[in-house]
Structures are given as C-alpha cells and as structure tokens.
Subunit: 346 residues, 2 copies
Amino acid sequence: MVETHSIEHFLTEVKTTIDARLAEYIELKRLEAERVSPSSVELVEGVAAITLRGGKRFRPIVLSAAFRAVNAAGSLDDTISAGAALELLQSFLLIHDDWMDQDDERRGGPAVHVIYRGAYPDRHLANSLGILAGDLASTYAWELMLDAPFPATRREHGLRRFVELQKEVYFGQHLDVTANPDVTRMHDLKTGSYTVRGPLLLGAILGDASEDAMAALVAYGDPLGRAFQLRDDILGTFGDQATTGKPAGNDIRVGKHNALIDALERRVPETERGVFDRAFGQTDASDQDVAAAAKLLIESGARAEVEQTLLSLRDAAVAELSVDSLNEEGRALLRGIADKLVVRSA
Amino acid sequence: MVETHSIEHFLTEVKTTIDARLAEYIELKRLEAERVSPSSVELVEGVAAITLRGGKRFRPIVLSAAFRAVNAAGSLDDTISAGAALELLQSFLLIHDDWMDQDDERRGGPAVHVIYRGAYPDRHLANSLGILAGDLASTYAWELMLDAPFPATRREHGLRRFVELQKEVYFGQHLDVTANPDVTRMHDLKTGSYTVRGPLLLGAILGDASEDAMAALVAYGDPLGRAFQLRDDILGTFGDQATTGKPAGNDIRVGKHNALIDALERRVPETERGVFDRAFGQTDASDQDVAAAAKLLIESGARAEVEQTLLSLRDAAVAELSVDSLNEEGRALLRGIADKLVVRSA
C-alpha cells in the first residue's frame, strides 16, 4: 500500500520535472527561431506564455501514473517528453479554442490571440498570429513525442495513439462550437479523450502494457473522464476566480447547458425558475442576479446531486483498478489521482 | 538519358496514384467520423473539398523523384503515403492561410472557411469550423506519414524532417502576415521549404540517401524554390484565371510587393509610374487600370527581367544534379521537373 505521502510526492515530482522540461524546451525553441527567423520569436513567445503560465500538468501526471502502473521498473524520466508533448498539445488546443469561444482570458492572463493585440492593433492580424502560434504549438507537441526515449516501434504506437486522440478532440470541439445536443458525446470526445483516456493509453503504450492492463485503464478512465467534466461544470459556476482564472458564475452568464442545469430542470418546474432565467445566458447579468441563480442551484439540490454523481463515478473508476495486470504502486497512484481530480478547485 | 516521354509518364503516374490514394483515404476518414461523431463528417467534408478539388500534386512528384534519384530499385508505390501526407499538409496550410489572408477562393472554388457559411451564417462560427478543419487536415497528414511503408528508423527520420518543414512554414507565414521586409527569407521559409526543399529531403530520407546525395538535392532545391516563387509572382499578375483560380492582375490589386515590382522600381523612375500606382494596392481598381499597370510591367522590361532570372535559376538548379550520388534516371526526372516548374501556367 502506497501512502498519501507518496502520492503527493509523485504528483510534485512529475509536475516539477515537466515544468523544468517545458521551460528548457521553450528556451531551445526561442534560440532556434532566433537562428531561422529572428522576428518570428514572437510566435514562440505566444506558445511560451500559455505553456509556462502554469497549469496543473494533470495530463502528464496521468500518463506517468499509467506508465508506472504497467511498468514498475521503468524510469519516470522516460515519460517526461511524452508528458511535455501533451502539455504542448493542450497549449495548441487552448489557443485555438479560446479564439473560437472568444474567451479573452486563460490561466489568469490574456489568451494568446489577445496577447498579440499589444503589438498588432488590427484584430484580424492579432487573431491570425494566435492561430499560427497554436499551429506551432501543435508541431512542437509532435517534436516532443518524437523525442520520447523508447524503442521505435513502441514510440510509433504512441504516435498513432496521439493521432487518434487529436481526431477525437477536434470532433468534440466541433460538437461544442456547433452546440450539438449530444453533450455526453461532446464531453467524452473533447475532454475525456485527451484529458484522461488519451494520457492513460499513451502511458500504457510507452510502458509496454498487456492487453488486460490497457482494458483496465480504459475502464478506469471512462467514469473518471465524466467525473472530470462534472467537476469542471461545478467549478464553472461555483469556482473561485483566483484559482480557476475565470469569473465566478461564468457558466451561468455564458448560458452553458451543463450537468447542473440538467439537474435543476429535473428538480424545479419551469414556472419556478424565474430567478435562474434572469441570469442564465445573460452576459450582462449583475453579480447579484448571478448569485441568486447560483443559490437556486444549491437550494434545489442540483449541486448536491452532481457532487453525489461525481463521487459515484470516482468509486466506479477506482473499482476497475483491482486487477492483476496493474501493479500495486500504480493502482495506489491512480486511486490518488482519482481523489485529487474529484476535489480539485481549479 | 530518359526521354521527355518518360518524364510525362512519371508525372502522370505519380499524380494519378496520389489522386487515387487521397480519394481512398478521405473516404476512410468519412466512415471513421461517421462512427465516432456522425455530425462531424462536415469537418471531413471541408478537408475533402480542398484536397480533392485538384491541385498539381507538385510536392508528391518532387518527393517521388528525389526518392527515385537516390534509390533506383525502390518502388514508387512506397512513396505515395508520404506524398499524400504532403498534400494533406498543404490542405491544412491553405485552409489556415486563406482565412488569415481573407481569401474567399481557392482552386476555383470557395475557401474552406467560406464553405461553412452555407450551413452557418454566423461568420465567426464558419471561420472557427474552417480553422478546425485545417487542424484536422494537419493530423491527417501525420497519420499518412506514419503509414509510410519503410523501416521505423527511416520513417522516424522522415517524421523529424516533417517537423522541421512545418516550423519553417509557420515562420514564413509569420513574416508574410506581419509584412516583414525580409521578403527573400519569407519566400524561402514559406514556399521554398515546403514546396521544394522539404519534399526533396523527405524523398531522399525515405530512399535512404547518402550525405552527398542530400547535399546535391539541397543545392538543386535552393534555386528551384526561388524560381518557383518567381513563377508564382508572374502568374499572380499575368496568369489566366481559368488555370490559376485567381482573377488576372490579382497581385496588382492586392498590392503585393514581389519581384516584378522590384524590377519595375529599378527600371522606371517614381515620377513615371503614375499609371502603375493608379491600380497597385487598389482593391477596387478597374480592369482597364489593372491592364494598363500590367502593360507597364511588360514595356519597362520588368517582366522579361524576371523571366530571365527564372531561367537562370532553373539552369543553376539543373547544374547541381551532375553528381555521381544521384542516378541518371533520377537526374532526368529532376531536370524535367525543373522545366515543368518554370513553364507552368498554374
């Protein structure tokens, strides 16, 4: 049995190593751009800003834990390039998503397309540079994947998984921007895939997992991905701006139809939701109106219901770990990750 | 000595095989999207529209010729996946570029971000779907590269070249959209890299070329890339809309500062360029004004000067092929390609 102390140590170790690798990599990319096209360093700076501004490094942690769970003897250091690749992939996706969603803030700072407005007042040009910085981050992600220090066939298997993961994310984003009513599929593709399932499978592939171990990790990842989304939904309404980087009640003002709204609609008849409708989808709603709407989500039991579902999903995920194909240390890490994910505040 | 007949045969063979492979691949991607997220097939359709609408398949031809020049025994069929990858990469770049340049037409049809305006009148949403279709095309390019049927280490060497090529293109595009005065560098990075140097090196890597052969191909590709750009400049002003897919005189109206303008400025004093300035950079210039400006480019000798430079660059490229590290059949193909490129009308 691995103790809580060890889990915290693991999380810190992976995050610290990833942060260092990303800082070192970005510095190399600055120098490279300087040689090839000096003024294009500003494109690297856009990637640097969003990549180094923080982030929980959740995906690399999941990847490293899955790797460890199938390969007790493997060096965690070997997983760092692939973990850093996932962070660059996320930078790319966030940069493009923020422009698509016209979100001007990210991780407590300006979104990348907004950063370029400083030097380029022409909005379309600034947006173009944002998209281009996203494209560059995507290529950097591939470069880091190619650096993963494993036998070529195993690395290529990982690269193929990287392709699948990306296609799923684009389809999920497509469903999101076109407001497709199949929200469950959208979340599975957009969030579940690249946040949980993708990193788990990448770690497993690089760790040379058995079929059984892969199946167990997928079974663990499925409810966990859904739990991750529910926590996102709760944070989008009840989160603290200081930790989430988004204004409190953001999802209410934006009118995001999430699990909380689902629960509310089942619990409160339409005629009694006036106080909610005053703020929902009203981008100029007052703080008081938003607070009143949030209060209804609590008093109706909608929030408690979602919290309960979240805990059940966590339990369902953890139950899938009890298989011989995953080693005990890895199981403990994955249990710890499931707990972390459920109680996270950002 | 390979005859003209053989060169034509080679060009047709590669183009036909690439066209078939692309059609087959895109059909598989439609079916895949249908399984994963049926409504997202419209994202694949955006990629399909621009990829299958035609195109000279110039980059796959260059790749296959370089492969053949270093590997007389190798099967051309083996180069088709990597060639198709270059076409998908180009689809991705064209989709993003057209949105950045606010070009609404491409290859004689609507640009991809314009296609989506049919189903989505909201301009930002249509643009977002265009960017997303571009992202998808980029991932498809990687998938096709991973399918290249070569030993893993050689394929990975190719993937690393694919990374370098992409970074160069982004930097070139950055210089282009920010109107950087270093136009030579911009063209080398944006056009030379992924049109000539990149495909040559990819073909050479997949063909397991010697260092000497690589060096010869780079020496051949450098002037050829510049020649390609000069032909583009001439076609942008004097090209026929039916073959180029762009209105005649397009570059004059857009005010593109290219090699023709450079020559004009050296040949005609500023005070005598009134007829030119009336149309240059004037998007609403009349056809007559554009024709008069084009006439000055001819009468001043600017066009003839650029045509002459173009031929010299072609000769310089071809001269680099006389090395033992390239086989005779390959040299003939690369000579034929240089000729084609110089006289192309689209």
